[in-house]
Symmetry: D2
Subunit: 327 residues, 4 copies
């Protein structure tokens, strides 16, 4: 099949490459001409403008937009929509807020255009491992473009089969699903990232406990000096907490168990936040997912929070406790 791709960053470029390796053809565009050239070198057709991209695609066209969520994606889709024809499809592979998908799909459908939202996990490893995809949109359009998704997905591989599954391997086992109507793909991806935050924070707290067992909070004769790199490694072997995130942690701890190169200031992104908003909207208690997000917020306030100073002010008030600077 043929796919137009807009945005040739790490994700977009590798998506093009993985598709071409599977025998599909791509027409690619980026604001950066150099990025286009590189992909053309890999076998893609280049397009310096949206117009040129649309012209080089055969109807019904499919264009994958792989840009930062928010304005870049929104503006590009709006511009693209004016150039496309009824029956064409726009695929948003970025980290879009699922309610934006719902709105956009409704708007585009008035012009006869289709819209698929693709939540993609696998990041920098996707070219090699394949992309895990959760896809929202009309089922018919999804099915039309399914060969592309199948090529991008990891495939069955050598992962042991889930107990109770029999017969032909289905889509999910190949690593992509049709999650539901527009927005459902990004909704599922959002929850995926919410879980990711929680898992990461669980390991982070655990390793803090391993390390602090050797630290100053305890009397010397109660301390254990534990080897965190060894522990991460042994947990990869038959323990209940084996996971890919643990594998990555083990990688990092081999290089430097102190992790001294890191600042301790941790970013967060839209999905982690939207997950909490969704939980609030749907009245679901999510203490772990929210704690994980808040830990990141807190990590960025290395000078102490205003709230902490409020605590000290009260403590001074009722107990004469002094927690002032330089004391």
């Amino acid at each position: 099949m043929q796919l137009g791709i807009i945005g040739l960053g790490r994700m977009g470029g590798n998506i093009a490459r993985r598709l071409m390796r599977a025998g599909h053809s791509t027409v690619v565009h980026d604001l950066n001409d150099e990025a286009i050239k590189v992909l053309v070198g890999d076998g893609a057709l280049g397009a310096n403008t949206l117009e040129a991209l649309v012209e080089q695609l055969e109807a019904p066209r499919a264009v994958w937009v792989m840009l930062p969520a928010g304005e870049p994606t929104e503006n590009t889709i709006n511009a693209l929509a004016k150039l496309l024809s009824p029956g064409d499809a726009i695929i948003d592979g970025g980290n879009t807020f699922y309610k934006d998908d719902v709105r956009r799909a409704a708007k585009l459908s008035k012009d006869g255009l289709h819209y698929l939202d693709v939540g993609t996990s696998g990041g920098v490893w996707g070219l090699e491992r394949g992309y895990c995809m959760m896809i929202g949109g009309e089922e018919e359009v999804f099915k039309r473009l399914e060969p592309l998704f199948k090529a991008l997905a990891p495939g069955v591989g050598d992962i042991p089969r889930t107990r109770g599954r029999t017969g032909e391997y289905d889509r999910a086992e190949h690593g992509y699903i049709h999650a539901g109507p527009p927005g459902a793909g990004h909704y599922v991806k959002m929850v995926h990232n919410g879980i990711e935050y929680g898992l990461m924070q669980a390991y982070a707290e655990g390793f803090d406990l391993l390390r602090s067992k050797g630290g100053n909070e305890l009397p010397e004769d109660q301390r254990f000096k534990l080897n965190v790199a060894e522990i991460a490694e042994v947990w990869r072997r038959g323990s209940v907490v084996t996971s890919w995130l643990l594998d990555l942690t083990a990688d990092a701890l081999v290089a430097d168990p102190q992790l001294s190169e890191f600042s301790g200031s941790v970013s967060d992104s839209g999905e982690g936040r939207w997950t909490i908003d969704a939980a609030v909207e749907q009245a679901v208690p999510v203490p772990v997912l929210s704690s994980a997000l808040f830990a990141r917020f807190r990590s960025r306030q290395q000078q102490g929070t205003y709230g902490d100073k409020i605590l000290s002010a009260m403590r001074l008030g009722f107990g004469g406790h002094v927690e002032k600077k330089g004391e």
Copy 2:
């Protein structure tokens, strides 16, 4: 009545004074001779040794130990026990772990000695406002010493009476209770402090939200520059969140709304920690009380936690996100 008092810090000294103002007599001891002199100046009998203190008291004696919890209290009580006679009573007014009370009371009773544990709230304000007391121990002994507790307590004052209460004002309305057997006094005080942590953190988070509404996380046209001192003041007037802790916050914010003199590093004490241990033991979910304690732990790690670096290491691993120092 007559009371021996050991430990003439802010608390012990003021307890002696408040008792003497009410017509009771005290025999006082401290490692610091100067502290004894000051109290003698206020009308107490001084004792430079435990032996001297015990000698000057008439049987059945009552001795109030007002020392830091842990070893200082433990050692003093052990020494004192050897000097006292069956029927005498030791009162621990410090911040003792309630399980230590249980153990101690059992041990002392073998020698015919009585033990009362008194959880005391009111801190530096007690001399003036009176002490709110939660008392554990044998009921008979409690009743024998009740005149002392009544004198120390705030009394009925001008606080509006609780709806549904009628008739004579009871002990609780005077500001002291017999909570239960040995340990019950400190247990109730421990829970009091656990709640205190939670209340404080609730205000801290709220004031953080007030302040951050004017800060950089928001686009300029969505910010409100709020006057936190005014807000604390208005909330004291008929709102649902009125409290003594809010009063203290209002005090502090009049002096400096930035609270710039505070380091942001906040201490915690035994009670806050034991509350969480008790919750774990009793299988009670205490997300608020534990969050409040953890916020204090976190406030003291101003260089970032090891756990936060673990997060960054994973993010680098799966997404190529760089959160290193100096970047």
Copy 3:
């Protein structure tokens, strides 16, 4: 002064009454004619339609809308806006989302209309205690209507003055403030309610700990049977956790320490939720405020959550633990 009031529920009706007691005059409207009649009996002018209400007010008019937030308030304000003249002011005293205030104020100002948002705390007690008010909107309009706010506010009363405050009592000390531009009033009220949730949950967890100390989770010889009503009462007397919420708890526990009439299912409202959304937007960690909201969400799922069943399913998977129904 003269004020129009729309919505004569408990809040609106008492606002009218408190204003009239202070010598102001009111023109009142409600969908329920009976409610109007009652207020007319108290001295108000009645208006059966919005048109009649507007006609009976002298320009520049001020109309207080006291209706459920969301559609009822929105629709009424839209209808009212068509009847008013430039210079008139609409006051929204309900529990409106502050971003709706911002939007509304901008829209109304195009027609020369003014908009004040009044966050009001004090609930059912306001007629007697006065209303604590946080007000957003243009300063000029606020000042014009200030006599009304002053009459509604609790006033200085006999609350001890905040340390460091001197001279004339200011607005905050009377119990109302001009918090900032449109939306600021409801923003501050929202944070107030967020704090309220946190405070309530801190007490709830503490009382759970008091009660569970006498329960089955502990061996019999480690239990204390604590008198929660007495404890709530004694904490009202000089302790650090004194507050109005504690007073209310003490009221309830006198009536029934078991609280057996309550279902244990607890509602939440917009403000508690919006507080978390604001924290997420402003990157403020609010573990206590969010835990308090989640505890209410959880309280309404008395049959167990799907998430809990996921836990059991995993436990069966890795450990053979059986947590099935009827076992």
Copy 4:
């Protein structure tokens, strides 16, 4: 080598089997004669008493105690210690609290006995997958018994090697480590379980969010009916949240996406609780690990908590909100 094993439940029995498959010999004991017979059928020597077990072992002996933590383990070790000779070693493979290990090892060493604590993960899958082991105790004794641990461990298998590791595969890569002095093995296992709780709760909350997106809290036109079994499956394929726990979840959801057979009441065990106690002792904030434990506590109070009723009582007090039974 030769190993004595006491306690032939699922874990102890399979440990014996896995050792015998690797060519080691075992002498086994259990209170249940039938359990002994079964193992004898598999090639073990049986011992109906501790004495018989000790007699059949050659010095220096090694005895693995695989019993429920607490009294059963404690009593057995005490009885065994009386029968053993200097130089012999006791291995506690149960879920013992690490501070008990420290105490025991010190006590046994006075009689010249050695003590190893082995934290074991892998549960019911160990016979087949091998046991992941974290071992505390004297290094010399550990080394003497290392052939046993190597035989029990999963071995290198086909797990991709951690980046940065080169040369010979070390112990951790075979699936067992010498974690440190007595207690270190169970400490590391405890933290492992703490992390496990956090990971599980992260998934639980995520799946709750997937399910609730189709539920009544949302207006009908905002719902997505998501296929949770498909989602679990697709996440196993190249996503960031792949893990063994997710594999188990996928297994369960194939069988019944409703999980309707589960009660929703979830147990917890010592390790999860001790993890929180350790965090409190070491001043480490663990919001995720504690939230995970509290969620389980909460799951078992299906009739609502006393704390929730306290909330309702306050709400009735300040706002007239009624949350009583049957209303």
